[in-house]
Amino acid sequence: MSFLVGAGPVIPNFGKGSACERSNGWFCTDWLHAHWGDTLQPALVQHLWLSAVAVGIGFAIAFVLALVGFRRRPFDAGIGALADFLYTIPSLALFQLLVPFTGLTVTTVEIALVSYTLLVLYRNMVEGLRGVPADVLEAARGMGMTRAQTFRRVELPLALPAILAGLRIATVSTISVATVAAFVIPKGLGEPIFIALDQNLFKTEILAAGGLAVALALAADGLLVLGQRAATPWSRA
């Protein structure tokens, strides 16, 4: 049975399928067809959820922080430094730090992913709000807008391009970093990649899962661009 030894241990994803799969070819479409339903599609959906929840929570936190930091410089410096610090922690190290407290759970993953979104979201929000021209603000005040009206009707809409630009970067980078979540939980597109790495680098699975992550990031970015255009028709005027 020497050929079995040469083929390595029998594993679920590859080794007993087509000739392409047995020889670990670059891209085996038959494997893709066979495992879309049980491997790739669930991983894609999980990945989407992990990323969407992280960006959503990150956006909400960053927005509240920006409301404070935008008017009060000392707070801005503090919040900015904290967000900078969080951003510099390598993701694997952050997972390791969190596991003793929150375990091998979705919570651990989301805390890490959210931390990484804060810097770019917060900075873009504050820059956008501060970037509103002084003459526009003077006109708003001089015409009798209250502070709340000025914020809602003038500052926020004018900051929107910067805020949405931040959202795009945060979304794309979160989708990318979320593959590392598989170190903690068997979810997302990182999971099939890890399994394939374990199995003599089964190329098809790595390429398929990796490709899906890229496609998801591009699709999300494209949608946000469309949303940005619809929301700020004036910026193209």
Binding site: P133, D135, V136, L137, E138, A139, A140, R141, G142, M143, G144, M145, T146, Q149, R153, V154, P157, L158, L160, T232, P233, W234, S235, A237
Partner: protein, 313 residues
């Protein structure tokens, strides 16, 4: 919403910033009758813009008072006060994310006017400032500098305020467009008859636009407050004479037209309509080497003649 025109009174109005030796505006007292244009003019550091902003309380008075139709600005809610005052600034400050119509509708919207009302009002105001109603849907970035100034003016007029504050409204515009905007502003003012406080650093603009001119000197003290003709003909002191310029006699000529003079019998010479200013007519005699001009009515019929000396008397 407001309406009509209001009398504006500065009563010993003073703004003193903490830590400065000189006041920005120093015991300024003057009355702008309802429906008149008062131009604040003077060198930089004269407190013109400060005086203007004391009215809508973008800057708060240190002492003294400012009253609009008898009511002190101090006694009014600051937001309500500002909504009742049209405000035009040099950089215009149009909202870039709003269409021209939405910009014009800013204050009416604060008064909860309906979309329908705002649409009609913005068409009406666009026409008043000389813009086609197709401009309503454009964004400020799609307008020229002069067009933006017009929209800024329309926006300030939207709620029909009894008082307008204009801070160098035609400042950054090139001279030709600027002259046209001044003319149109004066035509518009004949229609709407608002009380206007108009800040400029340009004496020629002050003479052209103002019913009255207040000249402020450094430290925000009033040097003279009078009609353009009185300031040109009887400057109160050396500072005013100097500020008005050595050519004040020429400037004074721009305040009068040929129609105000008694004509001699018809004679040969370049034909000039009687609505021409004495200054322009004099320039023509120099340019044409003419000693006599033929004065015509609006249809070009000769009414009589004038000599160069008649113009200078």
């Amino acid at each position: 919403m407001p309406g009509d025109a209001a009398e504006l009174v500065f009563d010993e109005a003073t703004k003193q910033y903490a830590g400065r030796s000189n006041a920005a505006v120093d015991h300024l007292s003057l009355t702008v009758p309802a429906g008149e244009i008062c131009v604040l003019v003077g060198p930089s550091g004269g407190g013109k813009t400060t005086a203007l902003k004391l009215v809508n309380r973008l800057i708060e008075l240190t002492s003294g008072d400012i009253r609009i139709d008898g009511t002190s600005v101090r006694d009014q809610d600051v937001v309500q006060l500002r909504r009742g005052i049209g405000y035009v600034i040099q950089q215009v400050g149009l909202f870039p994310h709003m269409t021209v119509e939405a910009n014009i509708g800013t204050v009416p919207r604060l008064y909860d006017r309906s979309k329908e009302w705002i649409r009609n009002r913005s068409r009406e105001l666009l026409e008043l400032v000389g813009l086609d109603s197709s401009y309503a849907r454009r964004y400020p970035a799609q307008l020229s500098g002069g067009e933006r100034q017009r929209v800024g003016l329309a926006r300030a007029l939207a709620a029909d305020p009894p008082l307008m504050l204009m801070d160098e409204p035609f400042g950054p515009i090139d001279p030709i467009v600027r002259a046209r905007l001044q003319d149109e502003f004066l035509r518009l003012q004949r229609e709407v008859r608002k009380t206007v406080v108009f800040v400029t650093h340009d004496m020629d603009e002050a003479i052209k636009v103002g019913d009255r001119i207040a000249i402020l000197r450094r430290g925000g003290r009033l040097a003279q407050y009078d009609t353009p003709a009185a300031i040109l003909e009887q400057p109160a002191d050396a500072f005013v004479a100097d500020f008005v310029g050595a050519d004040r006699a020429l400037k004074a000529l721009a305040l009068h037209t040929l129609a105000e003079l008694e004509l001699r019998p018809a004679a040969d010479g370049p034909r000039v309509p009687r609505s021409t200013t004495l200054r322009d007519a004099l320039a023509l005699t120099i340019e044409e080497h003419a000693d006599t001009i033929a004065v015509t009515d609006e249809d070009g019929r000769v009414l009589g003649s004038l000599t160069k000396d008649d113009l200078l008397r």
